[in-house]
């Protein structure tokens, strides 16, 4: 590949400055004022650039939004070719482009153009040593990869990739790339650039595996080539496994892509859809998706693969420790699950690695442990690894952050045969109390160290729960108790830093979290915390926070202890606001008299708005808890006596609520408000909370109402209503309205409680007709939901039929029923009306018809042929029927009524009877 060819291969036409340099005669060019940079805009001095870069770094977003922002990217590229600027300044310009390409060149097109310009600058460098080549390569790589421009259609990519590969393989890429002394560092840099491109586009170098292997075998720089090969190999394995393809001889494939020939993007395009973790996190790697189990290399491929991995591992000692660690992560996870690739290849490295204190190396060993488990680590190896880890977690020669990380690794140790639930921190089985001795917490520890070691101690205590206390050894639980006492003692110091108090509460929380089932731990903890409150009430916010976060195991006893702690003391000291804050958290229905006594006494000392509000906050808690007795007196007193009108109003409001709302509703009304809590007046915030509760809300009908069987008895007609509900309803009130004023206004029907699935007795709705006529009743329901909201709903209208109004006459004297009936019959005329009609009979005949519909009203019966019926129609009408001499399909009916308006209704009724059977 020639130098002329490399940068221009497939690239766009050279840009302006290049034309200037090559198109203008050299002599003229020198006469121009200082090189190409000057004729886009005046050249910026070193100082100006320093200022500009400083302003940019201080806040890139602010700078880019400012007047200079737009030009920065363009200026920067131009200035790189300025002959006035020193190399050092240009390096700092390139450094900026390495960090902020997205700000300088915000889209793929701009990034492509920038990379092209950077490559142009690179090839135009004079052939003497220069500090710019390396950063220019890095910058072009960064611009392409970060700008999303890397790809087969990008001209800059087509120039950069062969150039990098040429440099990496130590080939002569032309005089423009500086003296021989610069080749070696550039070779390493090119490898790094290729590795970054491969990271961003897995599979990019899939076609170069054979080349990289042969370079590594020759005299290439070991570390950059090893890391590049390992990454490319890993990515290729993953992509091929997904495509269910083999390695296809990629490991032995020969030379680099032909000079100027097209780059092979096949694998990169397959890999493109899935950016692969180079070292997947362990749980994610459990999924088959990430594994390589599907890839079954042929014996020949497997041999090649093994040879390549062995080649990498054998020279790994030449790598820096951090690079060795990367190599192990990459290869470990590349080979995991690959058939026919036993992990013994790694074994020779392990002893060497276990001896070091290097964090990355030990971490990489743990990664291998997680990847291969028993296949690489026997039980003895596992024990040794644990010992080394325990040792590292406390070694005085290592810094604290390393100790804490190792301790974390211990509690998340990838055991061969884990017993506990996954995802939770546990002490590994082999980590006995003896190994842990040096890992226990001490008051001399830093906060995070203390918490980390405390967690381990808690895990030991949890294991120790079953065992009897040992006589000779100090039991871990005792030690835990002493330690917590020490923490509380420090937290109790007046004027001590908040960090000490925070630490004490964090430790308490951690202990409760781990040992919630151990009363031997919780009881002293509760008492200790109560004493801490007594000593330093100003810690009230921490107590409230703790109560919010712990379960009832500590929460319940601690509430009680704190309540006693507060109410047993006179509430008049400077700690009153803390006492009130605690009380508002812990006051409940228990022992309300002591709490009320305390509040009565405290009220006199609540002189400012804040204290009054705190006091009322406690009242609110008591209201919610359903404390009634005594609270009303207190609220009344507060409503009179508080100085602040806001406080008085609030007290009065609570009093009204207490007096008017039943317990459950009160609880809901005072429940957590959805409104923003930061409003100045507590009333406003609170109002929004219970305004919703006190208002009646429209709701869809939660019940079905129907008219049940008639019950012809009593002085007025009564509808029997049947109710079915879909959800529990309380305090149900049904309201009815008669359309057309046919009846007197109807009273509401009340039901305390309706539950779904539980049959409810029929509801009785007495009707007071003004005229004996059928009617429609509009129905509304008011009810309280289980959530305490009061709602109303419109139900479908109910129909009152003509027959629903029928009432029997009072009983006729015995023996003279016929006479009674005849008397009624005669009394209808002359004011009334008489009619005759034909009532069709169904197959059952007259007897069944009467029994079904008219039985309560029959006065004289001669079954099966003759019935005399008398019906009272409130308010003051009567309907008399004679059904006699039935034929096969009908019966002639003679009817009389004293209200002629009834006649058509009666006719319709009778004609409809047979159909109604």
């Amino acid at each position: 590949m020639s130098s002329r060819h490399a940068p221009r291969a497939g690239g766009p036409a050279p840009r302006e400055p290049v034309v200037a340099r090559s198109g203008v005669a050299p002599e003229t060019s020198r006469l121009h004022l200082g090189g190409p940079g000057c004729w886009t805009m005046g050249p910026l001095s070193r100082e100006t650039w320093a200022q500009r870069l400083g302003a940019f770094r201080a806040s890139p977003s602010a700078f880019m939004a400012g007047p200079e922002g737009e030009d920065l990217g363009r200026d920067l590229l131009n200035e790189l070719r300025s002959e006035k600027l020193s190399e050092q300044t240009k390096v700092s310009l390139l450094a900026l482009s390495l960090e902020y390409p997205a700000q300088l060149w915000p889209d793929a097109a701009a990034a492509e153009a920038a990379a092209t310009s950077l490559l142009d600058t690179l090839v135009l460098l004079p052939p003497r040593p220069s500090a710019l080549r390396r950063p220019l390569l890095l910058a072009a790589t960064t611009a392409l990869a970060a700008g999303g421009a890397l790809g087969p259609t990008s001209g800059a990519s087509r120039r950069l990739l062969p150039l990098l590969l040429g440099l990496a393989s130590g080939r002569d890429v032309g005089r423009g790339f500086g003296p021989a002394s610069e080749q070696r560092p550039l070779q390493a840099t090119a490898c790094e650039c290729l590795r970054e491109l491969e990271s961003c586009k897995p599979g990019l170098l899939g076609g170069c595996l054979g080349l990289l292997r042969s370079l590594l075998g020759q005299e290439g720089p070991v570390q950059p080539l090893s890391l590049l090969l390992a990454l490319a190999l890993r990515n290729t394995l993953v992509i091929q496994a997904r495509a269910r393809a083999g390695l296809q001889g990629l490991l032995v494939a020969g030379d680099m892509p032909a000079a100027g020939g097209p780059w092979n993007w096949t694998l990169a395009e397959e890999g493109d859809a899935h950016l692969q973790p180079q070292a997947p996190s362990w749980p994610a790697a459990e999924e088959e998706e990430c594994g390589l189990a599907v890839l079954e290399p042929s014996p020949e491929e497997a041999r090649e693969l093994r040879a390549a991995v062995a080649q990498l591992l054998d020279t790994s000692y030449l790598l820096t420790p951090v690079a060795q660690a990367q190599l192990l992560w990459l290869l470990g996870w590349a080979l995991r699950g690959l058939r026919g690739q036993p992990p013994v290849l790694f074994k020779p490295q392990l002893v060497r690695l276990l001896g070091t204190a290097q964090l990355t190396l030990l971490h990489a060993v743990l990664a291998l442990k997680a990847a291969f488990g028993e296949a690489l680590f026997t039980a003895q190896d596992e024990a040794l690894l644990l010992r080394r880890l325990t040792l590292a977690a406390q070694h005085p020669a290592l810094p604290l952050p390393a100790h804490l990380f190792y301790l974390h690794c211990l509690l998340n140790f990838p055991e061969n045969w884990p017993l506990g639930p996954t995802g939770e921190e546990t002490a590994p089985l082999l980590l006995g109390p003896r190994l842990c001795r040096g890992l226990l917490p001490s008051l001399l520890h830093d906060p995070s160290a203390l918490l980390a070691h405390l967690h381990l101690l808690c895990l030991l205590c949890a294991e120790d729960e079953e065992k009897e206390e040992k006589g000779q050894d100090w039991c871990p639980r005792h030690y835990l108790g002493e330690l917590l006492a020490g923490l509380r003692q420090r937290a109790a110091l007046h004027g001590g830093p908040r960090a000490l108090a925070t630490l004490c509460f964090q430790a308490s929380y951690l202990v409760v979290h781990c040992l919630a089932m151990q009363p031997m731990v919780l009881t002293p903890l509760t008492h200790g915390l109560a004493r801490l409150y007594r000593a330093r009430p100003a810690l009230a916010p921490h107590f409230v926070d703790l109560l919010d976060r712990v379960g009832p195991e500590l929460g319940e006893p601690l509430r009680m202890a704190l309540r006693q702690e507060v109410v047993s003391r006179p509430g008049r000291d400077e700690a009153l606001r803390w006492h009130l804050q605690i009380l508002s958290k812990v006051a409940d229905g228990k022992a309300p008299s002591a709490t009320l006594g305390f509040l009565h006494a405290a009220a006199a000392h609540c002189t400012d708005w804040g204290l009054q509000q705190a006091l009322l906050q406690v009242c609110r808690a008591l209201l919610r808890a359903g404390v009634g007795e005594g609270l009303a007196d207190l609220l009344q007193a507060l409503a009179r006596q508080l100085e602040d009108p806001d406080g008085r109003d609030r007290a009065r409001l609570y009093y009204i609520l207490l007096a008017h709302l039943a317990g459950p509703k009160l609880g809901v009304a005072l429940g957590p408000s959805l409104a923003a809590p930061a409003l100045t007046s507590s009333l406003v915030a609170e109002n929004q909370g219970f305004a919703a509760v006190l208002m009646v809300q429209e709701a869809p009908a939660p019940m079905r109402l129907s008219v049940g069987p008639r019950r012809a008895a009593g002085p007025v007609p009564v509808l029997q209503l049947q109710v079915e509900v879909l959800e529990p309803l309380y305090s149900v009130e049904l309201r009815f309205r008669v359309e057309g004023q046919l009846y007197a206004p109807l009273g509401a029907v009340h039901v305390p409680c309706l539950l779904p699935g539980r049959p409810c007795r029929p509801l009785h709705l007495p009707l007071q007709p003004r005229r004996p006529a059928p009617a429609q009743l509009a129905v509304r329901a008011l009810f309280t939901t289980p959530a305490g909201l009061t709602c109303h709903a419109h139900l479908p209208p109910l129909t009152v039929n003509f027959a629903d109004l029928f009432l029997p006459f009072p009983r006729a004297p015995d023996g003279d029923k016929q006479g009674f009936f005849e008397e009624l019959w005669d009394s209808c005329l002359p004011e009334g009306a008489e009619s005759r009609l034909w009532c069709p009979l169904g197959p059952q005949g007259l007897e069944a018809l009467v029994a079904r519909h008219l039985d309560p009203f029959v006065v004289v019966a001669q079954p099966p042929t003759s019935y005399h019926v008398a019906i009272r129609l409130p308010p003051a009408s009567r309907l008399l029927l004679r059904l006699e001499a039935a034929h096969g399909d009908g019966v002639p009916v003679a009817l009389r009524t004293d209200d002629w308006a009834v006649l058509p209704l009666a006719g319709d009724y009778l004609r409809g009877l047979s159909a109604a059977i």
Binding site: R57, P185, S281, H395, A397, L451, D545
Partner: protein
């Protein structure tokens, strides 16, 4: 396995922001991967200003810790490692690896190659250990031999170029930044085949090997019936091998005298090529017995160019070098103190220096001292409320010395006297500072004749030993003292 960004922030309490970003570096190609891997849980790297604020808040380094702030002070907000979540721009940036050392915050954010919700355990994130190595590497570079602010600034100015070498794309290539600095300077040297990446050049000159063993002894002494005194020796063996050739092989053996205390918990430099299993397994958690491996401890290695720590070890010596008691009783504005110190007869009685510092915390300045010493002199630092008993180069023949006296204090002023959370009331300590040259407490030494060098030329071999005190506390036996679990195992 890469870093998204790295910061150095100097902590400046009392200034408006409480700190300044001294250095920061972002890695946009890694950031691009983070966006893909983290998916919906992705939180972008903030600008320096918001990062500074969020970090100092989380680490409680702002001056405003007066009020309870739930996001920081809640009991469930528990941090057990040096890895934090920072609230920035409406999201939580995690994991942020950060620690404070010498008033400098070191911080970086590693790439996590998966979603962050739920958070994966740190052990499964490959970039975490790399973050630590990067930060430790920067810290070593900044503080190695650094004496003043000017030097610090010079080194900070070198950092951008160094990281361009050591971590060009966010993936750390070498945590030894000094090495990267050398590689910039060595750039013109043509490298032969198989040059280790951790050795940027070759040495030319007179061959010499220097080995120095430094032992630090720690102790906690209580003078109480139910609490055991504890002490421990921590050793570090530092080597500088000036040898010609690319990969010279060296083997150093550490030996113990017949009654020496076995070396335990041995950690070696990565350049050590193999380790005896006895060295790998000797551990302080095991019960000591006569069968314990007692050397010689052989370390074959290929040395780097620079001075390096070949190994670290700990050891349990049978007695502490100086045994003492300290009694302090409070009497209104005075305290009465009695101190007794005894040098063990087996210890070399020839100090470079030896002194006992007796601080009085959470009290006012010293206004008056009446005292009697059996040996040495007492210096009084009134404003700092410290007594320093200068014992000098030798203990007297009796090996035992004592101090008694009465100290009176003035009124306490909060601004000048920092709060100490341990030394409250009668809880107090004295701390011994001493150094003995050409001596180790374990007896450990590197025999010049046992050093094997496989390189051209016979090197000059020099060895050095010293013992220094470190965290050597004697607690007031008349009041409670902080104890460790080890002290309870009588």
């Amino acid at each position: 396995m890469a870093q998204r960004a790295v910061w150095l922030i100097s902590h400046e309490p009392g200034t408006p922001l409480c700190g300044t970003v001294r250095f920061s570096r972002r890695y946009p190609t890694v950031e691009k991967r983070a966006r893909v891997f983290n998916g919906t849980s992705y939180v972008p790297i903030p600008e320096d200003g918001p990062f500074l604020k969020a970090l100092l808040f989380e680490l409680r380094l702002l001056d405003d810790d007066k009020d309870f702030v739930e996001s920081r002070d809640s009991c469930s907000h528990i941090n057990k490692t040096s890895v934090y979540g920072l609230l920035v721009g409406g999201g939580e940036l995690w994991p942020v690896v950060a620690f404070l050392k010498n008033n400098m915050m070191y911080a970086c954010v590693p790439l996590v190659e998966q979603t962050l919700s739920p958070r994966p355990p740190l052990i499964s994130i490959s970039g975490i250990s790399q973050s630590f190595e990067l930060l430790f590497g920067i810290q070593d570079f900044l503080h190695l031999g650094q004496k003043n602010d000017t030097e610090l600034n010079t080194k900070l100015n070198q950092l951008p170029d160094l990281l361009l070498q050591a971590c060009p794309f966010g993936t750390l290539l070498d945590a030894n930044l000094q090495n990267s600095l050398d590689s910039i300077n060595f750039a013109s040297v043509t490298h032969p085949q198989k040059q280790p990446a951790w050795k940027v050049g070759t040495y030319k000159g007179k061959p010499q090997v220097s080995i120095s063993i430094t032992e630090k002894v720690k102790s906690m002494q209580y003078d109480k019936q139910d609490i055991a005194d504890t002490w421990q020796v921590v050793g570090a063996v530092t080597c500088k091998c000036d040898l010609e050739g690319i990969m010279p092989n060296v083997t150093i053996s550490l030996s113990l005298p017949t009654n020496g205390s076995p070396l335990q918990d041995i950690l070696v430099h990565p350049c050590v090529t193999s380790l005896d299993s006895a060295i790998l397994t000797s551990s302080s958690v095991d019960a000591m017995d006569d069968s314990a491996f007692s050397g010689p401890y052989k370390f074959p290695f290929t040395p780097p160019l620079e001075s390096f720590n070949l190994c670290y070890y700990t050891s349990q010596v049978p007695v502490p070098p100086i045994l003492g008691f300290y009694q302090m009783k409070e009497e209104e504005i005075q305290v009465k103190i009695t101190v007794n110190l005894k040098l063990h007869e087996s210890v070399k009685n020839n100090f470079e220096f030896c002194e006992a510092r007796i601080p009085f915390y959470n009290r006012g300045p010293i206004t008056h001292v009446e005292y009697k010493v059996s040996f040495g002199q007492l210096e009084v630092f009134r404003e700092k409320s410290v007594l320093i008993w200068i014992i000098g180069q030798k203990f007297p023949k009796s090996m035992e010395i004592s101090l008694s006296g009465t100290v009176t204090f003035g009124a306490k002023s909060h601004e000048k006297q920092p709060f100490d959370e341990i030394c409250i009331g009668g809880t107090a300590y004295l701390k011994l500072h001493f150094k003995i040259l050409d001596y180790t407490l374990t007896g450990c030494y590197a025999d010049q004749h046992s050093v094997q060098v496989f390189a051209s030329g016979k090197p000059k071999i020099s060895t050095h030993r010293k013992l220094i005190s470190s965290d050597y506390y004697i607690w007031n036996s008349k009041a409670p003292a902080p104890i460790t679990y080890g002290s309870l195992l009588l």
